[in-house]
Subunit: 316 residues, 2 copies
């Protein structure tokens, strides 16, 4: 019988592992996504991590860039530019429909999780992708120029200024949703995706009550397994390596394992980092060393199968 | 010296005469547009009459259909359809940018007139197009199926059900803007466009204080001239002829003249309706009989020049 899996995920790395897990035989997968990257563009709620996972599971993602909708056009964005609107956040025409529909439904008083589940079903996604919370949480990063909203730093400034501090506005008032708590209560395995530990997984674990719900799952025997987003000292995607270094943390798989050591029971390192396995084991973590780079559907499925087999071995 | 002209306008007919007036030498034109056709689609404020006039004066209108942006695509609308949104109101990708930018600026607390003027300037429109009011007014029509929102009847039901009553929700609380009152105070000619007298010009005149401001202009000598939207018993565009008949009014140029007789001093009939001239004169209106059908830029300019010359002759 397949395990009930809950995957904590950010954007591209989370989406790839989600698609590998969803491609297992009889998958029973729920994804909990970071919402602290969400942003308001031209009055529309844009949810980069949710939408990357949704488009990936719907099979319509732009596979070259890993996010957005494939075969995209930018007609509305160009027209917005002519009207004097900011266009550094590249919203495509197909993608825009998601933000328009979502914002309209939220303005009609609907709940974020409910609206997201509806959009997923419309696109034929069978795996529930749950926002970590229905409450607004927004990451800000401190740079030499002061505090910046996350997407302002991430997209507009292309992650160039070094980050000296991170904060999640709204996190104290945020609560995990009933759907997230129910998924974690039923979870037989919790997987932490190879996503940025600071700004993708960090906010999920910072929602008051959410980390405790994962710990409760762990305490009743559900293995908690994290996959390193750092391979050979480099983030496969995004600025996680530089952020770790700029914050005085070790920008290695071992450095990430240290961040998760109090929560996860198992840690997956890439074969390139086999030399760090002993150090991670010394933190009290079970380890798995495999190829973790997901270049196509086959490698996604294989990594997902490896992670589940590793989790099963831990549960014994 | 050219006259200061204020044009009261609905959609396509108003836009065509506006472009004819704006093409006169040294034009000094202000357009006051109906906003009672405005509607909320997917949470975005759509202003059909304003946008038709704006796109026409910007030279980017779809000339075949008379409204919307030319060379338009519908990528976002198709994606909205896949998400389960209603798509009977055909919002094109370029057009959507207008609604997105406008709605975002209004949500930021800006005033409708201010936002519209900004959009016009971005598109290079030199003629101010003023919403009749900043306050929400929404036309509803009564049919055998009960009361319907205007665009629901106009677009979705293609004007098929007969209309037995018209109401303008919000009209009592609406006020003309400072910009509209200033334009009318300075007006040397007021032109009523060949637009639907019931649902395009009707709401403008029903804004409390607006008709009185036109009458004040008339009392200090500014000619008020209306152009018939009905030619040979047929509306050139839209359902004005059937609406007039369904409401028990005469669906002719003469019938329209009767609606404006208390306000306008002059009335322009098409050559096809020359036989009604005497009846219109008998209402106390000066008359001009000319070709009023605006098939191209030349005929728009010619009708505009004819109307201004007619007004000048009335002022003597």
């Amino acid at each position: 019988m397949p395990a009930r899996v809950v995957l904590l995920a950010g954007g591209v790395g989370g989406a790839k592992l989600a698609s590998g897990l969803a491609a297992q035989p009889d998958p029973d997968l729920t994804v909990v996504v970071n919402t602290a990257d969400d942003t308001d563009m031209q009055g529309l709620l844009v949810m980069p991590d949710h939408d990357t996972v949704m488009y990936t599971l719907a099979g319509i993602v732009d596979r070259d860039q890993g996010w957005g909708v494939g075969d995209e056009t930018y007609t509305t964005l160009e027209a917005l530019g002519r009207l004097g609107e900011e266009t550094w956040f590249r919203l495509g025409d197909r993608d825009l429909a998601t933000h328009i529909a979502r914002t309209a439904r939220l303005r009609a008083g609907r709940r974020l999780t409910e609206v997201c589940l509806e959009l997923q079903r419309s696109l034929g996604v069978a795996t529930p992708i749950l926002p970590m919370t229905d409450d607004p949480v927004r990451t800000h990063v401190r740079t030499a120029d002061g505090w910046l909203a996350f997407q302002d730093w991430f997209v507009r400034l292309r992650q160039r200024p070094a980050v000296s501090e991170i904060r999640f506005d709204g996190i104290e008032a945020a609560r995990p949703t009933a759907e997230v708590l129910a998924a974690l209560e039923a979870a037989e395995v919790v997987v932490i995706a190879p996503s940025n530990p600071l700004v993708s997984i960090g906010p999920i674990l910072a929602v008051p009550g959410l980390r405790a719900a994962i710990e409760t799952a762990g305490a009743r025997g559900a293995p908690i397994v994290a996959v390193s987003p750092i391979v050979a000292g480099k983030a496969l995607r995004g600025p996680a390596d530089r952020m770790l270094a700029d914050l005085g943390l070790e920008s290695t798989a071992r450095g990430v394992a240290r961040l998760y050591a109090g929560l996860a029971g198992g840690f997956v390192l890439d074969s390139a980092d086999a030399d760090q396995e002993a150090d991670v084991e010394a933190m009290g973590l079970a380890t798995l060393v495999v190829d973790t780079i997901m270049v196509d559907d086959t490698t996604r499925r294989r990594l997902a199968a490896d992670v589940l087999a590793f989790a099963a071995s831990m549960a014994v």
